[in-house]
């Protein structure tokens, strides 16, 4: 990527000109090479004199606030682990057999979370929310299986969370294939659902068949219709595989016309089976980029929002997701993990992302593992500092870019190219919609943070240093 880069200023080639972009200000416009250089000069030497013929251009930069100092970037992880969200990877049972499932849900030896473990996690989240002066705590049921398939514990966990004196927000990721009883319970007791649904009947049934190999489309549409009728909040998370990339715009149109949902998240799955993340070939990556851009056109025509996790220029983050920081992500075997995809101990990155256990008396956190993970993330961020996506991508999803065994980082391959191309496309659309200059709200979540810079990679610090949060010996 040929960029003119100064701290927090990026100039991205775009159709013969440059997108001149300040990610921390969430501001961008399109200029020629001279404009890009002038902007860089004005930022680097704010008090210097500018030639007369450029006074107008400098005035423009000042008027749109492009020469303001960057707001402080978001802070790195606060080392005190005090999660106020309980994310329960409840079970690996599943009533579907999605062709790309990273957890191979339904195909492995059964693992269900015991009720007592779930209740303990809820207690911790509620207690931390109270101590941290948060107005509510969260209970989230996540994948690796279909949460309502472990119905008894699911129901009791929800009832328990609701019985707490502290307010609770309950949500889940689900495939939407529910029984009547389950649907009624979900609509009554949950605050939202992230629905995994892959599009038209053709795509949905091909990618997400039932465990018996049958169609899941009708069951999901029934759930959607009921959620729409009851104005129940949900968003659709769609996975697209290589075989159906060109169907993406059609699927989005289907969502817009046949459902009441207006927020869609698209994630690609480039592998050929249930083996987890696979980097695409350049040709497949190009196809995904084109299909996504066409799908964005369709979504815009319906005034709907289409997102992809690797392209979020409206955000400012220092890590891709907050799983490691503010959530107690709990596996059925009581392992505490820092990634939603590490659903069991056999995952290739289980060693890297397992940061503790939930014992009978509370969390037992492996601070060394947490620190190690944090250092790896900082390393990644430093490696990414030349990329204009760094402040919204946060170094990308760790499970996509860490090498197994905690030994390093994978190369920046096609996924990074996809992230950059789609981020650039989004910036161009923002600029187009805004007229000439895009400015958006600035989301700064923390203060007094320095730019990560080069971390001190001291391998001697990466020791296992087990600490317990209580006085008991383990």
């Amino acid at each position: 990527m040929n960029t003119l880069k100064k701290p927090c200023l990026f100039c991205i080639p775009f159709e013969g000109k440059w997108i001149i972009y300040r990610p921390l200000l969430h501001a961008a416009f399109i200029g020629n090479h001279t404009m890009a250089e002038l902007t860089e000069h004005c930022l680097r030497y704010p008090d210097s004199e500018v030639p007369q013929e450029h006074v107008e251009a400098c005035g423009f930069l000042k008027d749109i606030g492009f020469l303001e100092p960057d707001p402080p970037p978001p802070a790195q992880t606060d080392f005190k682990f005090s999660p106020d969200a309980a994310v329960l990877l409840l079970t690996n049972r599943c009533n579907l057999r999605c062709t790309y499932c990273y957890a191979e849900a339904g195909d492995k030896a059964l693992e269900d979370m015991p009720l007592e473990l779930a209740l303990r996690a809820i207690d911790i989240a509620a207690e931390n929310a109270k101590n941290n002066d948060r107005s509510f705590f969260q209970l989230v049921f996540h994948g690796g299986g279909e949460p309502p398939q472990h119905w008894d514990v699911f129901r009791k966990a929800v009832d328990y969370a609701e019985s707490k004196s502290h307010k609770c927000s309950i949500s889940m990721s689900s495939n939407g294939v529910w029984s009547k009883e389950q649907r009624a319970f979900i609509l009554e007791h949950l605050n939202g659902v992230s629905l995994s649904f892959d599009g038209t009947r053709e795509v949905q049934d091909a990618q997400r068949p039932t465990a018996e190999g049958g169609s899941s489309f009708k069951a999901v549409m029934t759930s959607i219709n009921k959620m729409d009728e009851n104005k129940f909040p949900y968003n659709i998370r769609m996975t697209i595989t290589n075989s159906f990339l060109e169907k993406l715009p059609e699927c989005i149109q289907f969502f817009c016309e046949e459902t009441g949902c207006r927020n869609f998240q698209i994630e690609p799955a480039f592998g050929s089976g249930r083996e987890g993340w696979v980097n695409p070939t350049p040709e497949i990556a190009d196809r995904f980029i084109s299909a996504f851009a066409a799908a964005m056109d369709v979504a815009e025509s319906y005034q709907s929002d289409l997102t992809y996790s690797g392209a979020r220029p409206w955000m400012t983050v220092c890590s891709f997701c907050s799983a490691a920081e503010s959530a107690l992500v709990l596996r059925p075997d009581a392992g505490i993990v820092a990634c939603y995809e590490v659903t069991d101990a056999s995952h290739l990155l289980a060693d890297v992302f397992t940061i503790g256990r939930l014992g009978p008396n509370g969390m037992i956190i492996d601070e060394g593992a947490r620190e190690n993970l944090n250092l790896m993330r900082q390393e990644r961020l430093a490696l990414c500092k030349d990329c204009f996506c760094v402040w919204h991508c946060g170094g990308d999803c760790s499970s996509r870019c860490f090498s197994p065994g905690g030994k390093g980082h994978l190369r920046f391959e096609e996924r990074c190219r996809i992230n950059r191309e789609l981020s650039k496309e989004l910036l161009a659309r923002y600029i187009e919609r805004s007229g000439v200059v895009w400015r958006s709200r600035i989301e700064v979540t923390d203060e007094n943070s320095d730019f990560p810079g080069e971390p001190s990679i001291d391998k001697q610090r990466r020791k296992n240093d087990v600490t317990s949060q209580n006085t008991e010996q383990h």
Binding site: G16, E53, H54, F60, W314, E421, I431, S434
Partner: protein, 458 residues
């Protein structure tokens, strides 16, 4: 749409030895993206967050660039305090790609709006009619749109937003429609004569004299075969051919007394006619052969307007209780949209679906003011109201600026006159989303009405 990675041009160092610094806007031409140069000037006047109306006075034919400023997104101001027109919006039509919307009003103006950002692109005056523009239609090819004010028919071009021709007839005009091929304009006059005019010359091609009845509504089938007129208790169907004196080929009687047919529309496939009665009932008719299909009670006290989407699968009706959408042909109720405003609760006078069938435009109003509202009919939400600050904001509350436009001519913009005139501090952002460093336009009556653009979450 494939992303292109163009080669950046080799520029000089910024000392200006070769090329001056320039900024660009992304424009669309036939769906393709291209970069157009923009000027730096006027960036400090009423930028993001302010309501703008730019009226080009003379010169440059490039209407798209002359009306823009540095940030061309207009906030979706509430209709509570602002209007689209000075009188009721009688008719509304989209152009072929849905990016422009024309509204014809009782205030004797036609306004062309950019969709969905809401900029006012152009305004046309009428024939000093006391009722203003009562008819407006667009041809199927997206080349022309026509309107009628008093006795005069006006023809306009969509491509450069200019008036092409006008012609004065010998009587008042009650209705207007293009023939399917766009080569003729069908004009219903108040003396019950249907006149056919050529397009674009507006020369008289022929006439058909209708029986002297009281007509309340008019519809022409998309294939140009049938002309339907609605009166009390029945619909008359005329076969339009050879311009002879016609008597109705069919009378569709629905046997209810005192039920005027207030609105009608043919389905795009020509197979059905939907008639709306004053009592709030709908009747579906088959056209080939002509026969009654079914009735549908809508729950509205009366129906003032009707529109059907381009696929013929969804239609909308408007009445005092709001707008309702139904599937066709089953007639299943989909959404009801009620305009919440403290000003009035008038029935919409006109409805139009956009070409991609995702939006529904509705024209409302009384004698003192007209409102053009855009609905997302699938969710029932209001997306925006189209606002003309200059003609609808109180005169003592606005300020007008004039400056020289690139390429000659003057550009005039009108913005609300901010009583606080407070600069937005660096790193802060007002509820009106003004770019920091510029004037906050939050006046006492507008701060809660500024809504950020709805495309991207922030």
């Amino acid at each position: 749409m494939r992303l292109k990675q163009g080669k950046p041009e080799t520029g000089s160092n910024f000392d200006g030895s070769q090329e001056n610094p320039r900024i660009y806007k992304i424009e669309r031409s036939r769906g393709r993206r291209k970069l157009g140069r923009r000027e730096f000037l006027a960036m400090n006047v009423g930028i993001a967050g302010a309501a703008l109306t730019a009226l080009k006075t003379e010169a440059s034919e490039d209407f798209a660039s002359a009306s823009q400023t540095s940030s061309d997104v207009l906030p979706a101001l509430s209709c509570n305090i602002t209007r689209s027109h000075g009188g009721r919006v009688n008719e509304v039509v989209f152009n072929n790609d849905g990016k422009m919307l024309a509204s014809a009003s009782q205030d004797d103006t036609i306004k062309i709006w950019s969709n969905p950002d809401g900029r006012l692109l152009k305004q046309f005056e009428g024939d000093f009619s006391p009722n203003g523009f009562e008819s407006l239609c667009s041809d199927s090819k997206g080349k022309w749109f026509a309107a009628a004010s008093w006795r005069t028919v006006f023809l306009y071009s969509w491509s450069n937003l200019s008036k092409v021709r006008e012609t004065e007839l010998d009587n008042l005009i009650d209705g207007l429609a293009f023939s399917p091929d766009g080569n003729s304009l069908v004009v219903l006059k108040s003396d019950h004569e249907v006149m056919f005019l050529t397009v674009p010359g507006l020369q008289k091609k022929g006439t058909v004299n209708l029986p002297a009845w009281q007509y309340y509504s008019l519809a022409v089938s998309p294939d140009g075969k049938w002309l339907a007129t609605g009166e009390e208790g029945k619909v008359n169907i005329f076969a339009i051919k050879r311009f002879k004196r016609a008597k109705p080929k069919f009378n569709l009687n629905f046997g209810k007394s005192s039920s005027n047919v207030t609105a009608m529309v043919f389905t795009p496939d020509n197979k059905y006619l939907i008639t709306a009665l004053q009592g709030g009932e709908l009747i579906f008719w088959k056209t080939s052969p002509w026969k009654y299909v079914k009735s549908l009670k809508t729950g509205l006290n009366s129906i003032s307007c009707i529109a059907i989407n381009s696929k013929g699968k969804l239609f909308a009706i408007g009445g005092k209780q709001g707008i309702k959408t139904y599937t066709f042909p089953k007639g299943k109720s989909k959404k009801q949209m009620i305009r919440e405003t403290e000003v009035d609760n008038s029935a919409p006078a006109s409805l139009a679906f956009n070409p991609s069938n995702t939006l529904l435009a509705a024209g409302y109003g009384y004698d003192n003011g007209g409102y053009l509202t855009l609905w997302q009919h699938t969710t029932g939400k209001t997306l925006r109201c189209f606002v003309d600050v200059e003609s609808t904001w109180p005169k003592d509350k606005v300020k007008t600026y004039e400056y020289d436009a690139a390429g000659g001519g003057k550009v005039r913009i009108t913005v609300p006159n901010c009583t606080c005139a407070v600069k937005v501090p660096a790193n802060a952002h007002c509820v009106c989303d003004s770019v920091s460093g510029n004037y906050c336009e939050c006046d006492s009556y507008c701060s809660c009405h500024y809504v950020h653009t709805y495309w991207y979450p922030n």
